[in-house]
Symmetry: C2
Subunit: 153 residues, 2 copies
């Protein structure tokens, strides 16, 4: 009754990371790296991965501690290499935007001349295309193998 905030409650709430519901709705999970969950965007127009650091209350890359930023960079680079190796894409697009979904997430997208948005950025340019289940599973398995990770759930 001394008027101070009880550190237990809010701290506990903040300490549990959960994937933002919009990201959960738009993706399938590929697996977990040390820091980040790796997701595949439900859009067959482009092989499109998303990394989400599994730490609560992050919005910006600079919200991470410096060593965590370096860890995220390493995971971005590993993911970019795996994506480039499995897709032989012409260009990688890597971005942390977060204007629509405020949970920190990093897009790693394989782009090719003549893809549905080329040369524009992918966001909001072309309507998402549905994956056939087998094609989607093939991308998921390719990335799992490239990153040497097991399913996250």
């Amino acid at each position: 009754m001394d008027g101070r905030l009880k550190p237990g409650h809010d701290a506990d709430m903040e300490s549990v990371w959960t994937l933002h519901p919009q990201l959960a709705a738009d993706t399938v999970a590929i697996g977990d790296l040390s820091l980040s969950r790796v997701l595949l965007m439900n859009d067959a127009n482009y092989p499109w991965l998303i990394l989400v650091p599994r730490k609560p209350a992050l919005v910006e890359i600079i919200d991470l501690e410096e060593d965590e930023q370096v860890q995220l960079l390493g995971e971005i680079a590993d993911t970019a290499r795996a994506l480039k190796a499995t897709t032989a894409c012409a260009k990688l697009n890597i971005a942390a935007l977060g204007n629509m979904v405020d949970q920190l997430h990093v897009h790693v997208i394989a782009r090719n001349l003549g893809d549905a948005a080329w040369p524009k950025p992918v966001w909001g340019t072309a309507p998402p295309a549905s994956y056939e289940r087998a094609a989607r599973e093939r991308v998921v398995e390719d990335i799992r193998r490239g990153l040497q990770i097991a399913p996250s759930r």
Copy 2:
């Protein structure tokens, strides 16, 4: 006359970094960090910085050596913090796309609710707005002070 490429010529050409002419045309130089040149995009719609590592023949972040990637990350984080501190922006957008200009460059953009493209990405969304000279110089000086750098040329 043995048909081999002469290593001297091409290697010399490749060893000299110059700013891509499209980036030069679209920006003003703010200054140089250890690895990157810092540029201000000529678009008053958003405080919009671009980092260009001063090393030739780079297209992707993963073309950099690992220690250079970490250096670039540090410069991105410093630039993001300086931009956020001077603009009090609602969100940072950080991206390496390169679909139009193939020289590796990283966008660091201050976004605000109700800006010319919000909540969309800035690329290709709204026509660029001209800076008044004094306003542009103010942004340049603020970022120079925030990053503690002198003019690069």
